[in-house]
Subunit: 220 residues, 2 copies
């Protein structure tokens, strides 16, 4: 059997090209040329260019979701309420572990994920959201670890947390990301994000000045 070598070559090439140039910035011909494969192979194996993006996403989302579920189960399975640091650590560690295991593909996958999750195209956002939905199950755990936040405020802050993580992936370094530096990166992210999440809710009352500075009206 000729196996799925052609299919995999297409996925590999598309993954690397999408990571650098984004979906719109890459043509089917570029992909098939980089894969050393005929143009028609894309439509035979996938059906469309969009389906190739879905294929790349599917291939990487599965392992990450499994790992995340596993790590989060460890943290939340105990009797005590899990610490926020541990929740965040498990959440981000899942991605980073998979990226490191992917070895040479790690950088491409990281940047691919960063690009895909920050893409504003409707159907790409839907796809990313769908792939990421297993992670939404841990919102209650975050809410428990952050009793000073109401759900609205928590939602706001979670979006900022995601922004930081996505940006970190999108600018993943070309090389030199070994286990040690990955651990340092993880520590930095958890430190920064934990502090941000734990911060007391801001006064929305615009009449109280901030930090000794006189209050200014945005539009006089």
């Amino acid at each position: 059997m000729p196996t799925d070598r052609t299919k995999d070559e297409i996925l590999d090439a598309a993954e690397g090209l999408f990571a650098v140039h984004g979906f719109d910035g890459v043509s089917i011909r570029q992909i098939t040329k980089a894969a050393g494969v005929n143009v028609a192979a894309v439509h035979y194996h996938f059906g469309s260019k969009e389906a190739v993006l879905r294929g790349v996403t599917d291939r990487v989302a599965g392992p990450i979701n499994d790992r995340r579920e596993e790590l989060l189960r460890k943290v939340t399975s105990g009797e005590a309420v899990p610490e926020l640091e541990d929740l965040l650590d498990a959440f981000i560690r899942a991605d980073i572990e998979i990226l490191l295991e992917l070895q040479g593909r790690g950088t491409a996958v990281a940047r691919f994920l960063g690009r895909t999750y920050s893409d504003q195209t409707a159907w790409i956002q839907e796809m990313a959201l769908e792939q990421f939905s297993p992670a939404s199950g841990l919102l209650p755990a975050f809410l428990n670890a952050l009793p000073h936040l109401n759900p609205t405020e928590l939602g706001w802050r979670i979006s900022l947390v995601v922004a930081v993580i996505v940006q970190t992936f999108a600018t993943w370094p070309e090389e030199g990301m070994d286990a040690k530096s990955a651990e340092a990166l993880l520590g930095r992210l958890v430190t920064f994000l934990t502090a941000g999440l734990r911060a007391p809710v801001a006064r929305s009352d615009p009449s109280s000045p901030r930090g000794g500075q006189q209050h200014r009206v945005l539009i006089p």
Copy 2:
């Protein structure tokens, strides 16, 4: 003089379309059609599609830079070392004030800025960096306000701050962003980011630089 109506119409249309679909996702024909203008007008007034993006960026970067300089001067002109909250507030407030003053164009400009800043295309990154380089002058002030961070760690955290701001712009709400809600948003951002910046350095070896290239800091 026939004024620059055509030129402005092109800039308006391009601004709105780039905000929604990104640079690669928009064609010159879409822009000129939305502007009610002939295709050739783009090359007559700008010379290329890239130059249109530069034109849109130029038009909005000037006022923002002026306002930021003005607000930061107020904060840093006193004798006392400015508080971190005030630095961050002034930094972000400049953007938000301009966006609100732009009225109907505000949403488009916000999303345009968010997209442009987070774009990974080399020449777009360079352009964004160049346009907002005036903001880099306040790095010493941040360093003063954060004596517990070494320059490397500070650079790292600044990149996370920028990620949060950029993401906030990229997902700017379609409507309902009046002065009051903008003030609330600003408060949320300052609260979250201040806490993140003030967090003690993570214990896992803060001094070792990450291998290879660092994350790129848009506003160093």
